[in-house]
């Protein structure tokens, strides 16, 4: 399917879903707040945009995500590379990283609330933690997945250890590093929304959770839609191109 055909098919699917939703909202014998209609959600969108609330919350959530991405790139990537340089160290820390990667920031939240309080600090710790581990883990795997033959070849050309790290191990790990960032941010986005729901004073998670107290269900559906849409756009326009740039150019996948 070409992109145009896909866009047409998605449009059709979206239109059908919206029609069915509108119909259900009108026909079902339940109060309007239980199942808000698409029109109500659209109205909430217009309302929150004109009041400037939605842009402010979107920016607040994205700012936290971008901060975590930068920290992970600056700290997590070098750390993962360093740990991956030695086979013995890598084998030792592998299960440890795997363990902490699987205990998501969401599972940590109850404890983090005790440690860091009901506020911005907990949100930042939770999202940075969640993004960091997949990034470290995949950078380590990246170094380990570089064929030892490449390093041997460079040694016979007279390369120093530093030179081998710079010319072989780091570029060889780049596709995994891109994958790690993509995964880390995907996990991080979920953890961020959860943390904002519990302790946020603003952000998309705060928006949908606080709306629930006033039965502002249209606002909740709107927030959910924005959370999904933002991720799809971020992934499609930033993360996937980054991953493909490293992998495809080096012929590591056949396209």
């Amino acid at each position: 399917m070409t992109l145009r055909e896909r866009l047409a098919a998605w449009g059709l699917l979206l239109g059908g879903a919206l029609a069915a939703w509108t119909l259900a909202a009108a026909a079902l014998p339940v109060p309007a707040y239980v199942l808000p209609s698409p029109a109500a959600v659209l109205q909430a969108l217009g309302d929150l945009v004109t009041k400037g609330i939605l842009p402010f919350y979107v920016l607040a959530s994205l700012r936290r995500l971008v901060t975590a991405a930068l920290v992970a790139a600056a700290v997590g990537v070098p750390l993962g590379l360093l740990l991956g340089m030695s086979r013995r160290v890598a084998e030792f820390v592998h299960p440890v990283l795997n363990f902490f990667q699987s205990v998501s920031g969401i599972a940590w939240l109850p404890l983090m609330l005790v440690w860091f309080g009901f506020g911005e600090r907990t949100i930042l710790v939770a999202i940075n933690y969640t993004v960091l581990f997949p990034v470290v883990f995949n950078a380590l795997l990246g170094v380990r997945s570089v064929p030892p033959l490449y390093a041997s070849a460079l040694r016979t050309l007279g390369a120093s250890r530093w030179r081998i790290a710079r010319d072989v191990l780091i570029p060889g790990a780049l596709p995994n590093i891109a994958t790690g960032l993509r995964l880390g941010l995907a996990y991080g986005w979920r953890a961020l929304i959860a943390a904002e729901m519990l302790v946020g004073a603003h952000g998309l998670g705060f928006m949908i959770f606080s709306a629930q107290s006033f039965h502002l269900t249209a606002r909740i559906v709107l927030g959910m839609s924005v959370i999904g849409a933002l991720w799809v756009l971020l992934d499609y326009f930033v993360l996937r191109p980054l991953e493909e740039a490293t992998i495809a150019r080096w012929g590591l996948v056949q396209r």
Binding site: Y150, S152, T156, L157, G158, P171, W250
Partner: protein, 264 residues
């Protein structure tokens, strides 16, 4: 005359990481390679050819014995011994020219001089027009040409080649062998070339060193007294000197393979 390479009573033992068995790969290997000589090392699989080459390269430390280069003991890898590996050991994220220039970069050769050297070797191995391509855009034969050019461009005193043409198709292999012969003639490098292919060993070598298997040691040295400029595949199939050497080497290698069968 001091030999370029001298191998003295080499022994190498290692533990197979999968079966945990001790393997005696080489025992009592002695050989000498003269400056400018093209020595081929041939033997059945499992005779320790690759181990021998790894030791010469300095990538493997022998259990006992020593390797001398111009009379000095080899203690590790170094740019005086260039290696062309069996698999494609060029870097997939570097273009052809950046791969070929790698040894020069490591040595700190200035950019302009590097470019000139790269151009020369790109021409020599027939890769003109492919300088900006990445390895995945090249055929197997072309990748191996890049590997040969990278080693040559670094200007080593000795070229060590580990079955470099084993992974390419038969037609390309013949072309590459003739090209390597021409390169050996043009550069006068000392070359040690490991292979399990008897024809290849006789076609390329000034001498053929036949290895016995398990443990590997030198079984025989077969001279191939044919000048470099007369070595082409058309002549190879008709020349009686070639044929005699080929029969001789084939018989010696067959004895080793037969011994393996009887041992079960």
């Amino acid at each position: 005359m001091t030999p370029k390479i001298a191998v003295r009573s080499l022994r190498h033992e290692y533990v197979n990481p999968f079966t945990r068995e001790r393997v005696l790969a080489l025992d009592g290997v002695d050989l000498e390679v003269a400056p400018g000589e093209f020595l081929t090392v041939v033997g059945p699989s499992g005779c320790g050819k690759t181990t021998l080459l790894g030791i010469l390269a300095g990538l493997v430390r022998p259990t006992r014995g020593e390797v001398l280069l111009d009379g000095r003991a080899v203690t590790g890898p170094g740019p005086d011994r260039g290696v062309v590996f069996q698999e494609f050991a060029i870097l997939p994220w570097r273009t052809v020219e950046r791969n070929i220039a790698h040894g020069l970069e490591i040595r700190g050769v200035p950019r302009a001089q590097r470019a000139a050297t790269v151009r020369r070797f790109v021409e020599l191995v027939g890769l003109a027009g492919f300088e900006r391509k990445y390895p995945h855009e090249l055929s197997g034969g072309m990748k191996q040409r890049v590997a040969v050019a990278r080693t040559l461009a670094a200007d080593p005193e000795v070229m060590l080649m580990d079955e470099p043409f084993a992974a390419v198709d038969a037609q390309t292999r013949i072309t590459l062998q003739e090209e390597l012969n021409a390169i050996a003639r043009a550069t006068r490098k000392t070359i040690l070339f490991v292979t399990h292919n008897v024809e290849e060993a006789v076609f390329l070598g000034d001498r053929c060193c036949v290895l016995a298997r398990r443990p590997g040691r030198v079984k025989a040295m077969v001279p191939v007294p044919i000048p470099r400029e007369r070595r082409t595949w058309t002549l190879f199939t008709s020349d009686p000197t070639f044929d005699a050497a080929r029969q001789r080497v084939l018989t010696l290698v067959r004895e080793e393979v037969g011994g393996q069968d009887r041992a079960g």
